[in-house]
């Protein structure tokens, strides 16, 4: 069963950390990611650039786009990356999310299977 794991957090959440602390956190995430990929639980995923680089495209009924600056969900918590998980069930997916090595927020959602 495949799940999308959205990795979010307060973008300022890491701001109070020193450069060394941030580097250490990135190091831990890198190592963790490597293990999850090696175990076959993460099949794809990326870190995203900050939400300030996002651009939103909204289409009306006639298909006309309106383009605006920023992510389409405004809030304190921003999506900072994602992973596609391939695991047995929700408990297994939640176990992966729960072992994420940084103080962030994660959303786990099943991917729609068409068949």
């Amino acid at each position: 069963m495949k799940y999308m794991m959205l990795i979010g957090g307060n973008e300022d959440g890491w701001a109070h950390l020193s450069q060394e602390e941030q580097d250490a956190l990135y190091g831990r995430i890198g190592a963790w990611w490597g293990e999850e990929v090696a175990a076959g639980r993460i099949v794809d995923g990326h870190q995203l650039q900050p939400a300030a680089t996002a651009t939103t495209v909204r289409l009306d009924r006639e298909g006309r786009p309106t383009i605006t600056d920023g992510p389409f969900i405004e809030g304190k918590e921003m999506v900072g990356g994602y992973a596609i998980l391939d695991v047995a069930d929700l408990d297994a997916a939640l176990a992966v999310a729960s072992s994420w090595p940084a103080p962030d927020v994660l959303e786990v959602r099943p991917i729609m299977e068409r068949g």
Binding site: M1, L90, L94, P110
Partner: protein, 413 residues
């Protein structure tokens, strides 16, 4: 031929005890909750026919399990989408067969798994409660709706959404192990505790208590205690429900008003239940893993074992609250502690203990009722009156309202 009324009655009793186990077994076979419930219902209808004609079988639970399983297998054969499940079933068939024949504790595993699924943290609390009562407790949708004073459609929708999420997000059907277990068991206990409290002292509606609901919660907890006999907090919660229910008959006056602990006729308490609750608690405590349900039960036991209000061991009760505050530092626990402090150290000490709770409990009627009581004891009647009025404005429970109204009229003849 068996008497139809007798069959009805027997079937209702068996279903009451076995519905959870039957549904659980079918969910495991089919992986589909709605179909499982439907087939259990079909099996019950078949039982009604067969038992009336052929007599009630020696082991009605096993009969129902065999019938329900047969229906599940038929369903699997007919529907292609169940085919892979069929293979799994074939593998488990011999094992399942021996379980059904004996009706032994192995079948109970399914029910335990189902209970953990119903109380999975990926479902919201309301859905957890509705699913648990429906699937394990065997309550009808309308009964759950009545118990929680919401429209039938609301409960029906909650159940549909929850089952859909279980299926679509693939919430597994298992008892969590190792490091997961404490938190997940905590979810299950929290659901049972909430159901119990709602039944024991209803927060809304025209009846002061819905004791059937409290008894349902007690029954579910005793089931859990049978399935997990080595979990002290399960026994603690069971002891808590027993000790509360032991006093249930003495809690209301003829006119429906609430009788508080100091004024209750202790001869009307059920002393057998109290002894049972105390024995459960002692069994839990011997396991050496204390917890908040055990502590709450210990406080209840201290009250239940006192021969009179005057002989209540207040220092011990305050000490138990102090310990409880470590694991559960909530304002409501602090409020109850303050009431015990009042008996040990007097009303001024209690008011001091209540003062820091003002911000967090200003919307809670029992906080104002407790303040009123302390102010009255100190002779500050105007302030007491204001606090009672505030309490009255914050509760809809009819028995509580009557008690508060009584106090207000006594204070101002």
């Amino acid at each position: 031929m068996a008497d139809r009324t007798l069959v009805d009655e027997r079937l209702a009793n068996v279903l009451r005890d076995e519905r959870g186990r039957l549904t659980a077994a079918l969910v495991r076979i089919l992986g589909d909750w709605d179909v499982a419930e439907e087939l259990v219902q079909d099996a019950a209808i078949a039982a009604l026919e067969h038992w009336t004609t052929d007599g009630i079988p020696d082991n009605p639970g096993a009969w129902l399990m065999t019938a329900a399983r047969r229906k599940a297998v038929d369903r699997l054969r007919r529907h292609a989408r169940y085919r892979e499940r069929m293979e799994q079933l074939t593998r488990e068939a011999s094992e399942m067969g021996s379980r059904i024949e004996t009706g032994g504790p192995m079948g109970a595993d399914d029910r335990l798994r189902l209970l953990f699924t119903c109380c999975h943290p990926a479902l919201n609390r309301e859905a957890q409660i509705a699913l648990t009562l429906r699937t394990i407790g065997g309550l009808q949708t309308a009964e759950i709706a009545r118990a929680f004073l919401v429209p039938d459609a609301t409960i029906a929708q909650r159940l549909v959404r929850a089952k859909r999420k279980i299926r679509d997000a693939r919430i597994p059907y298992r008892v969590p192990d190792g490091s997961e277990l404490p938190a997940r068991l905590g979810e299950v206990l929290a659901v049972l505790y909430l159901v119990f409290n709602e039944g024991y002292l209803a927060s809304a509606g025209d009846r002061p208590e819905r004791r059937e609901l409290a008894r349902d919660a007690e029954w579910l907890t005793s089931l859990l205690a049978r399935l997990m006999p080595d979990e002290p907090e399960v026994l603690g919660l069971l002891a808590l429900t027993r000790l509360h229910l032991a006093r249930a008959d003495a809690r209301f006056a003829g006119d429906g008003s609430l009788i508080l602990l100091p004024d209750q006729d202790r001869a009307r308490w059920d002393h057998e239940r109290i002894a049972d609750g105390v024995a459960l608690l002692e069994r839990a405590e011997r396991m050496g893993r204390p917890g908040s349900y055990q502590l709450q039960a210990a406080i209840l036991a201290a009250h239940a074992c006192a021969a009179s209000w005057a002989e209540t061991p207040w220092p011990a009760i305050v000490a138990l609250y102090d310990t409880l505050m470590h694991s559960e530092p909530t304002p409501v626990v602090a409020l109850n502690r303050a009431l015990a402090v009042a008996e040990r150290d007097g009303p001024s000490a209690a008011l001091e203990a209540l003062a820091p709770l003002a911000d967090r409990l200003h919307g809670y009627h029992l906080y104002h009722a407790a303040r009123a009581e302390m102010l009255r004891r100190l002779g500050r009647s105007d302030e007491a009156r204001a606090a009672d009025e505030r309490a009255l404005s914050l509760t809809d429970n009819p028995a509580e309202r009557r008690l508060l109204e009584q106090r207000l009229s006594d204070a101002n003849p």
